[in-house]
Each structure stands twice: as structure tokens, then as C-alpha cells.
Symmetry: C2
Subunit: 452 residues, 2 copies
């Protein structure tokens, strides 16, 4: 009987850990709430109709199909019993629970949007962490333009054509640029009543500048590129309220906007709190569980937490919540497990994060990138960004389709995934009129069910 590794979460951290364990003499079980690994860096493309949802999602089962020692469980973790070394799942609809035993546990459940105690803002300003979020945002953005085209109320039209994005990190910057381009290149010719220059995109940042992971100089270049696109960048602007009519800033300034997007703060998922409590600790202020230099929980060398849900201090600072951290930690942890599973294991060397650099795209041919002391902005940075994102996208089919879609959008200025799927509308219609009781002849593409 091989010893068991349970990995919770199939994001960048969890999936990397599973793959890195392929030659280890263990049984690997990876648990996720969805059936797909999501390429989060391109979520903003789904939200702005550049890509379709499946293009940035790979079925976890398909990714691990060839890996004999791995199995995949679609499920949600209800709780972890660290004393008994068991993970309890919420099973299907019936609410019953299923327990999986582990010898090693790798927690990589990531983070979600955090509203800093203002959960009531969520419904007005959704975040962007899942495919559902992205499709919901796409619907809101496209519907705002549709409503603006129809309305005759000028003040309402202004609100409909104003998009406020809260948070000047890479996600906020990418969204701001992409929405502005959507309006400028794609929608301009399709609408009869609205003009492009009526569209207002405001990027709201509470700090003194955007993109704090870059140098002030490079961040300034990003601001210039955003402004060239027509995005308003508002720094030192603290959000004090968000409602259906828009955003209120400190100082009582109001930005009237029907579409508000939250790209400001994240918080570790509930599992981090669960684990911290399990080992008698508290989480940090972002809900992350504190781990030691070997990524394990205090007093529990068999439990690791990696990625966005882990608080790992290096050189006196916590590591940022970005995918390279999660992936490097995953490989470190996998190697450690493989090593300690063979006889004669020794001391653990501390994990060390190697920062390869950062990049953020702003739009067509616009980006900023920094790596090894080298700083790029504009077209070259954008090419680098493109290359890295295609390269890391999982699945050959997705790579080719995404590449084609991007090439197509680049040369045609069009976007393919402009689909509004209005559930509410569909539900409202229902099946109003009562159909006859029986005896309807077969017709069209349908067959017949109760015909004579």
C-alpha cells in the first residue's frame, strides 16, 4: 500500500504539485470544486469578450490522464481533521460527507475577492476569480452598452457608459485597458446611437500609485499608456461606498457608474482559517495560514500550504500572491515529499522564492515588464507578455485557438466571444401557454415522445 498525498485545489500550485509528484512512489489525489484548471491571468480576456470560457480552462482529468499515480476528485472540502489526518468532503446534494485519509496534505486552495468588511459591495462590484465571475462581468459590460444604446435619459446613459475599476494592480490595469479597447475598436461601429468618446473608464487606486510591484518609473509608463488609451487613472482615491448608482470616494466625490468591477483585495479561502485553527494558530490579516521555511504548518511536517493561501515570509516580507510563487513552492514541496518517502531522509532545506520578474498588459501593443533589472514598456513588453502567456497556457488545443483568436483580434480589431446569456430573460419566459394534451405530429428537428 502506497502512502497517500492529498492536494486541495487544482490552481497553479496544486496542479504543479500533482505533476511534480508523477514519479514519486505515492498515491496522489487532487480535489477541486470545479473540473477544470483555470488559467487565471487571462480571465480578464473572458470578461471583455476576447476569449471564450473553455479556451482558458483545461479539464483536470485530461491534464492528469497520463499520470498513473494521480486521481481526481470533484468536490468541496468541508473540513480537515489534522489529528486523524482526514479530509472530509461535502458530498453531492445530499449533504453527506466522505472522508479521505492522507499521509501528506498539500493545501493550495487559493484566494477570493475580499471587500474589507464591506461584503454588501459584492453584488454591485463583482470580482474576477472564476469563470462564472468572468462570464457575469462580460454580460454586465455588454448589457451596459446595449442599455445605453436604447435609453433616451442622458444622465442614465452617462452612468451606463462609465466603467469604474477598483484596484490598480495588474488585474485592474488589464481590465481597464481591455474595456476601453472594447469600446474603441469593437463596439464603435456596431452601435448607432452611442459614440466611443462617451465611454469613460476610471481606474481607482487607494494608494499613491498603481502597479506597486514595478518601479515608480515603469508604473508611470503604464499610466501613460493607459491614458493614451483614454483610461482615467485616479490614485489616492479611497472608496468609501459602492451602490447601484456607482462609487463614492473619500471626500464625497461620486463616480456615477452602472458597472463597477472589484480588482482590489483578495483573501485566502476558508480552508486557510480551518488549517490555522486546526494547528492552534491564527491567520494573518488576509486570512492566510502562516507556514515555516519548509512551507509546512507549525508542528505538522506532513501538512503544507502553498500559493495565495499561505503566508510565507522571505527577507522580512510576505511573498506576493502570484502564480510563480505557488508553482515554485509546489515543486519544492513535491521534491520534499518524494525525498522523504525514500529511506534515509535528512534535514529540510528552506524554500527560497526566485523572482523571475513581473509583467502587466495594458492593451493592444501596450504593456510593462520587468525582469533581472531589465525594464520594458510598449510593444516589446507586450510581445513578451504574449509569448509567456501562450507558453504557459495548458493544452495544445487551447494554445492554438487562443493564438488564432488573438491574431484575428489584432488584425481585425474584432472580438469573438461577445455573448450575453441572459438567464433571467430565459426564466421569465418559461412555458407560458399550455400545450395540447397529446397527439402532436413530429415536426422539424425534434422526434416524437407521446405521439399516437
Amino acid at each position: 500500500m502506497k502512502r497517500k498525498v492529498i492536494i486541495i485545489g487544482a490552481g497553479f500550485g496544486g496542479l504543479t504539485a500533482a505533476r511534480a509528484l508523477s514519479s514519486a512512489n505515492v498515491d496522489v489525489t487532487i480535489v477541486d470544486r470545479t473540473n477544470h484548471h483555470l488559467f487565471q491571468p487571462l480571465l480578464y480576456q473572458v470578461a471583455t469578450a476576447g476569449l471564450s470560457a473553455p479556451e482558458i480552462a483545461s479539464p483536470i482529468r485530461a491534464v492528469l490522464a497520463g499520470q498513473k499515480n494521480a486521481r481526481v476528485v470533484l468536490g468541496e472540502v468541508a473540513r480537515v481533521d489534522v489529528a486523524a489526518k482526514k479530509v472530509y468532503l461535502t458530498a453531492d446534494d445530499e449533504g453527506e460527507r466522505e472522508a479521505l485519509s492522507y499521509d501528506w496534505l498539500v493545501a493550495a486552495a487559493g484566494a477570493k475577492a475580499s471587500y474589507f468588511g464591506h461584503d454588501e459591495w459584492e453584488k454591485y462590484a463583482p470580482g474576477l476569480k472564476s469563470l462564472d465571475d468572468a462570464v457575469e462581468l462580460r454580460t454586465r459590460i455588454l448589457l451596459a452598452f446595449e442599455s445605453a444604446e436604447r435609453t433616451t435619459d442622458l444622465a442614465e446613459r452617462e452612468r451606463l457608459l462609465t466603467f469604474a475599476i477598483i484596484g490598480g494592480g495588474p488585474t485592474g490595469v488589464e481590465l481597464a485597458g481591455a474595456i476601453r479597447e472594447l469600446a474603441r475598436y469593437v463596439l464603435a461601429e456596431d452601435f448607432r446611437n452611442i459614440r466611443v468618446d462617451e465611454t469613460r473608464v476610471v481606474l481607482v487606486e487607494a494608494g499613491s500609485r498603481i502597479l506597486t510591484m514595478f518601479t515608480p518609473e515603469l508604473a508611470r509608463k503604464a499610466v501613460e499608456q493607459l491614458q493614451e488609451l483614454g483610461v482615467e487613472v485616479r490614485c489616492d482615491a479611497k472608496v468609501v461606498d459602492i451602490d447601484a448608482s456607482g462609487v463614492t470616494l473619500d471626500g464625497n466625490e461620486k463616480i456615477g457608474a452602472r458597472t463597477v468591477i472589484w480588482a482590489a483585495g483578495v483573501r485566502a479561502t476558508r480552508l486557510a482559517t480551518e488549517l490555522a485553527n486546526g494547528v492552534g494558530q491564527e491567520t494573518d490579516r488576509q486570512g492566510r495560514v502562516r507556514v515555516g521555511v519548509d512551507c509546512s504548518l507549525p508542528g505538522h511536517p506532513e501538512i503544507f500550504a502553498i500559493g495565495d493561501m499561505a503566508f510565507f515570509e522571505q527577507d522580512g516580507k510576505p511573498l506576493p500572491g502570484v502564480s510563480p510563487v505557488a508553482m515554485q513552492q509546489a515543486r519544492y514541496v513535491a521534491k520534499l515529499i518524494e525525498f522523504e518517502e525514500s529511506p534515509g531522509s535528512s534535514d529540510r532545506k528552506p524554500f527560497k522564492y526566485f523572482d523571475k520578474g513581473s509583467m502587466a498588459t495594458i492593451g493592444r501593443s501596450r504593456a510593462v515588464a520587468a525582469a533581472n533589472g531589465l525594464e520594458l514598456s510598449g510593444f516589446l513588453a507586450w510581445l513578451g507578455w504574449l509569448f509567456v502567456h501562450i507558453y504557459y497556457l495548458i493544452g495544445f488545443q487551447n494554445r492554438v485557438v487562443v493564438m488564432f483568436n488573438w491574431a484575428w483580434s489584432y488584425f481585425s480589431y474584432k472580438r469573438g466571444a461577445r455573448v450575453i446569456r441572459p438567464r433571467s430573460v430565459r426564466r421569465r419566459e418559461g412555458t407560458g401557454d399550455a400545450p395540447p394534451a397529446s397527439g402532436i405530429p413530429t415536426s422539424g428537428r425534434g422526434g416524437s415522445a407521446v405521439t399516437p
Copy 2:
């Protein structure tokens, strides 16, 4: 002031009519509840994870962007006042109404699934008419396999791996073949606990044979191809009940199935009833409005109904609800409007449907096709089907991406769009733990909103 044409519905009929009016001296307004034209013949591909939703949907605005005399309104028709020649829309969420005046009205609102008086079956056996339907079905099908992989209850596993499709028309046949192939080629290697031959796909038809638009000989070949794939074809099987545990047939036979799909009957949308009542008529048993030989409503030469919502008799039989009928009627009506808008119009020549043939695909290299007395089955029929469907798919970008995806699936036996998007799961999680009140430092990809 040009005279106004309102087209209701942007399906095959409505969109064809709008385009055919591009050089007519009229103002065209096309109204649809969604923002996209849907390529319905490929919906089953979205339902079985072969294509993503946006790949078979083209934004109506984009399709008509270059057509100067056309505008697009996203909206739902509340009612039509045939006396005042006005169409009332349900406006946005507020429930207020907007009226559009017309000189010509082309009603092309299509059909939806009909449960023959058993609307309670809908929730157990969804139909396949919209993108939402397709994504819902995809989720159900993929989740059934996921649950089967996890369950230890053998009877439940059998129900989970049984798929019942009601209705032996082209849609039912396509779905049956596609689900069986999904199990056989795609999922087989990805799951550890379930075997392909455990998957049961039952095609249930109330009539004495499937695919009644083909000759008995060709339909028999279709049955053979379905059986080669492993689909059970049940003719003369009348459905008397559907519930969460499966389908009950006449004679009290029970097919235990967690996934039941309705491909049996359709019924015209509510607008047909509305129009019929407006002109003092009744609909036929499928809810269609009866039109004259010129596709217009009795006593209202300015109102046309085309496609699935119209009852048009030719050679003593109603025309079938297929896209070529809708498109030919659309071109006929457009020509008629253009002609009568110019001075000196004369008598209307009756519309005549020209049947170019039918085709239905069964799976990889399997199909049946009939045209001009020629009958094909197998690989050649499948090639023909492929060609016709790529050819008619609207939008160059979609054509290339769909072609690539098909080629990819054909050679790799994989499917790209296997995404389960479990809204319920996401909602259940919510934002359980209360985040701290303020002062959270910026981290990761998010910016900051209320930092100090």
C-alpha cells in the same frame, strides 16, 4: 422618412430577412432577446463539450455592422398591436414599455421545447434550444460522470451512467451519438473507476422509426450506425412519465437515468399565439400561426410570419421546422417588401419551398444525408455534413476556430470545452468569514481600495 420594417427574432429566418433587405429603401429594426445569432444545428456540440458557446454564436450587431439601413435592439416583445401597427417591448428591469412603429412586420421568433402538457418534466429533461440550455446540459452530463466516479452505490452508478434521450429526430440522434462518443473516446482514459461499457445511451422514440424525414432504408442505416457506436434505439416507446430517477415508458417499463434530455417536440413561441389572436385566428396544435401563400397573416398583408412559428401548407402538408424553410421564406418576404416599396407593385406570387435535402450526423465519420434523390450514409455523408455546417456558420473567425477544433478532436479524440461551471457550488461558498475592517496591504494581482 423611410418606411419601417421590424423583424422579431435574429435566428436563421430573421437574420436572413434583415440581410436580404440591405438594398431595400426601408429602415430595418431587428429585435432579439439575446445579443447573438445562434447556429442551432451545432448546439448539440456545445452540450457535449465539443465546442464552446461563443464559437457558435455571432453578435447580431457585428453581423449587421456594415448594413447602413439596419439597427439592432436587444429586447423582448411584450405584445404587438396589429391595429396601431406597434410593437411593445419589455424595457430592462423596470418593466416599463417602449413602442416601436412599423409599416412591415416580419415575425420570426422560432420555437421552444414543448412537453405536450407535461411542463413538470422540463426540470428533469431539459430541451436544447439556447446556449443556456446547452451549457446546462453539458454541466449535467459531465457531472453525471463525476458523480459516477465517486459513488460506491452500484445502482446509483448505473443510473448516473445512463443517458436517456427522448425523440428520434436529428437532434436526438446527434446527441445520442455525441454522448456515446464522449464516453468512449474522451472520458474513458480520464476516469479511474468507471468503464466505458458501463455507459448506456438510450434513444427513445414514440413513433415506429427514427428520422422520419428520410426514407425507411436510410433511417435503418442510421440505426445501424448508432448501434455500432453502442446507442440503444427504442422505437414505439411512448413516454408516460419523467422524474428524477428516470423515464417511465408505456407498459410501465422504467429506464433508470439521472440524465434525461428532451429532443421530442417543439412549439412556437408565445408571439405566434399573440399574432393569431390579434388577427382573430387560432394557432395550430403546435402553437403556430397560419399564414397564406405569401407568408402573410390573413387580412394583414403587412405582417409576415416565417420559420418555426408559421404554419405554411404546401402540397397538403405543413412545411417542417428546419432552417432552410425559414431562410427561403425570409428571402421571399424581403424581396416582396422591396418590390412593393417601389412604385407600381403588382400581385404576389406564392412562396414555394425548395427542399434541398436533409442530413443528420451520428458521430465521427458517421452520418446520413439525402438530396435530389441521392442517399448517402457513413463517411461521405459525414464529410458533406461537415462541409455544409462549416459553410453556413456565420463569421470567418468562428469558421476557422470551429474547423480547427473539429480537426483537433478528429485526430486526437479529445474535446476542448469540458467545463463544468457550478453556480450552486460557488454561491454556497459565499464570503463566509468576515474580513478585517481595514488596513490590508496590497498584495498579488489586486490593487488596493481602502488602504491607509
